[in-house]
Amino acid sequence: MGTQVSNAAAGPERSPFLQSHFTEMVQQFDAAKIGMWLFLVTEVLLFGGLFVGYGIMHASHPEAFKAAHHHLDRTMGALNTIVLLVSSFTMVMAVWSASVNKKKLVVLFLVLTILLAGAFLVVKYFEYSHKFHDGLLPGKFYTHQGDTVPGQFLFFSFYFMMTGLHGIHVLAGMIALTWLLRRALRGDFGAGYYGPVDLVGLYWHLVDMIWIYLFPLMYLIS
């Protein structure tokens, strides 16, 4: 959003990135930013529903949840947390670089962010395949042998729904970042115009923030 190039009303003093129904860049930037934040709120509530469901199911089957979470690999989880935190850092650096007009750095940091996002997904891939192998699957696909506490499949239902939805968001973020990278390579972003970098950045931080909560809820509930 907020990136349409207006061809109708591009006077000499009008930025090529200013859409025709806005008067100034400030106004366009403010609008886009409000829009993005509102969207983030909807994301929070979307995930929030899952958190509420998780909370209530956890409260009614605490033993099952506790027993089940031992199947998760804490090291992997912690590693992934750090990967995402660093990627948030590189993302914010990309925004900063754009705002001080360092176009090369923007590209560098975007590339780093994308790589870190990729790393996150690779780690997740290993975790998932391990779970698949052990039959630790959601709902009726759960086939793990030898449980002593019943009902552990409930935990894995939530594990997969929550990390799965999060993973989809990481993927979507990577797509958005790649798009930014293309534009950054073209040299679009500089001190005068970096709204899109900022907005994707916000989204990316939110994805990070959700993981910050997922990590303890999934991996650390003993």
Binding site: M1, G2, Q4, A8, A9, A10, G11, P12, E13, R14, L18, Q19, S20, H21, F22, T23, E24, V26, Q27, D30, A31, A32, I34, G35, L38, F39, V41, T42, E43, V44, L45, L46, F47, G48, G49, L50, V52, G53, I56, M57, S60, H61, A64, P138, G139, K140, F141, G151, F153, L154, S157, F158, M161
Partner: protein
């Protein structure tokens, strides 16, 4: 915020002349790819009218089936599918997008003096989401229909066959369409008000739309996740709503109503928005209690989040929760009452012309009074235990959804029609239509209150013979109602057949900004930079306004 106005509205160097937005540019393609809020609004409007007819025909089928106990026309399974589709179409495809996405898209930027909404392309995207969702909903018919009721209660919905998954995903997509409209409106109201237009100089329509958008953003995502959970439950048996797997079926109801109760205010607030415009215009008098109306919109939006479990008083909720939710529910009555009385006070000592939009608006006032007050029966614990899931509830929500919202939608369509198309319809016939709608509506749904309180449960295909008299009355009423609606639609379409006239900018003599541009407006809405000369509802003569200072500019 306020210093946005430092520049003139049009910026610099804009192309001098634009044609009428309906014609410039021409062609189907230009419509399908348009980012013009007015065109998107019009496309929404026709889609909504189309689905209104679909939903309405389904309703007529329901009423016909209920003419006699046992089978009249269709089988029980069919009946269940029909009322589900009727409810889902009316709620998700007609009422929720109705006023905000159709009229709001068309009118909100005009009322604010803006050139467009903040994110025009998102707006178009939201329309296509709507179309996608609508098609998905209709495709469920190919999968054998959906028979869960529009509330999708578990565990019935996780175990029945048919196209439930698809229908639920359709509702999910439609939810996002609605969210994007909301995001757009909030950003628009914040950043695109005409230079010099403060918050309290906005027309009340915008306040109400703003309040609606708040709910759309805060509640709809929860619906999204609820529906996803339902799909997961069906596909993977995740267990959260299934008692056999340790889940809690009643939890689904909490999830569902956390959205769907606020959603009823997504439906009524826009209706109130329209009424707040129509009544002053046809009373030629300043709106009474501007701030009270504005703040009560916000109050309704926020309070609406605190009451959802009033749909669950008999659902095995705890006594404590029942008491809290009932108590909070009653608070909604207060801002609603404030609005109703302010509108009546606006008419008081006005100069009232009973044109079609005003007749619809008056119908709204009367039917909302009934619909809202019957909400009190349901909000009150002891009586709800008796009335829950009977036709009393059906009558209540038709009074507020069809009797108030739909009627307000019609009021709005009739009100802005000349602005939209530059043509005036036959006001006499339209008024006859409005009167028929009022009569037919009451004939359809008043008997339902009585059968409900006598114990006729809803979603009943077959019923005891003692209820037949009332059912017959209701069915006959639905025919009167339908004839009024079809007459209204015919009158509107007939006006489009007429050659285009050079319609006055301001056929109703309204004071808000949309009347200051051409009818139909040009592509960029306003040709001259906007100068606010008076408040949105200031009906004093120009000299007097100029002489006074303060309240208005």
């Amino acid at each position: 915020m306020e210093n946005v106005s430092s520049a003139t509205l049009h910026g610099s160097g804009h192309a001098a002349h634009h044609g009428d937005y309906l014609e410039d540019p021409k062609g189907l393609r230009s419509w399908l790819t348009t980012v013009d809020h007015k065109r998107i609004g019009i496309m929404y409007m026709w889609s909504v009218i189309f689905f209104m007819v679909v939903g309405g025909l389904l309703a007529l089928l329901l009423r016909l089936e209920l003419l006699t106990p046992k089978q009249t026309l269709i089988t029980a399974e069919m009946y269940n599918r029909v009322f589900t589709l009727h409810g889902a179409v009316m709620v998700f495809l007609v009422i929720i997008p109705g006023i905000p996405a159709a009229l709001g898209n068309f009118a909100l930027p005009l009322l604010l003096g803006a050139k467009d909404v903040a994110f025009p392309r998102l707006n178009l995207f939201s329309y296509y989401l709507y179309v996608t969702g609508a098609l998905m909903a209709l495709c469920t018919l190919l999968l054998g229909g959906v028979d869960t009721g529009w509330t999708f209660y578990t565990p019935y919905s996780t175990t029945t066959g048919g196209g439930v998954t698809l229908m639920v995903l359709a509702a999910f997509v439609l939810g996002f369409s609605s969210i994007f409209t909301g995001v757009n409106f909030i950003a628009t109201v914040h950043t695109l008000r005409a230079p010099g237009m403060g918050w309290f100089e906005m027309p009340l329509f915008c306040w109400s739309m703003y309040a609606t958008a708040l709910i759309q953003i805060l509640a709809t995502p929860v619906l999204g996740i609820t529906l996803l959970l339902l799909v997961m439950e069906r596909v993977m048996g995740v267990g959260i709503f299934d008692p056999q797997l340790g889940g809690d079926p009643v939890l689904f109801q909490h999830f569902f109503w956390f959205y769907s109760h606020p959603a009823v205010y997504i439906m009524i607030l826009p209706a109130m928005a329209v009424i707040s415009e129509v009544i002053p215009t046809f009373s030629k008098k300043t709106i009474f209690g501007y701030k009270a109306i504005a703040f009560s919109s916000i109050a309704i939006a926020l309070l609406g989040f605190l009451v959802w479990a009033h749909h669950m008083f008999t659902a095995g909720m705890s006594l404590f929760a029942g008491a809290i939710f009932s108590f909070l529910t009653f608070f909604i009555a207060i801002p609603s009452a404030i609005k109703v009385f302010n509108w009546i006070a606006t008419m008081w000592r006005g100069s009232i012309s009973l044109r079609a939009p005003m007749i619809y608006a008056i119908s709204f006032l009367l039917m909302f009074t009934i619909g809202g007050l019957t909400g009190l029966f349901l909000a009150s614990l002891a009586t709800d235990v008796h009335l829950h899931d009977t036709y009393f509830v059906v009558a209540h929500f038709h009074y507020v959804m069809a009797g108030s919202n739909l009627v307000a939608l019609l009021a709005g369509i009739h009100y802005w029609w000349p602005k939209m198309f530059g043509r005036m319809y036959n006001d006499k016939l339209a008024s006859v239509g409005a009167a028929l709608v009022f009569l037919g509506f009451n004939a359809t749904f008043l008997p339902q209150f009585v059968m409900g309180s006598r114990g006729m449960p809803r979603r009943y295909y077959n019923y005891l013979p003692e209820f037949q008299g009332l059912h017959i009355a209701s069915t006959i009423g639905s025919w009167i109602l339908a004839s009024g609606l079809f007459l209204g639609l015919a009158v509107l379409i007939a006006s489009l057949m007429k050659p285009k006239e050079q319609l006055a900018r301001n056929p109703w003599g309204g004071r808000t900004l949309e009347w200051e541009t051409a009818s139909p407006p040009t592509t960029h809405n306003f040709d001259e930079p906007i100068a606010l000369r008076h408040g949105p509802y200031d009906y004093r003569p120009v000299e007097e306004i100029e002489a006074s200072e303060g309240v208005t500019r």
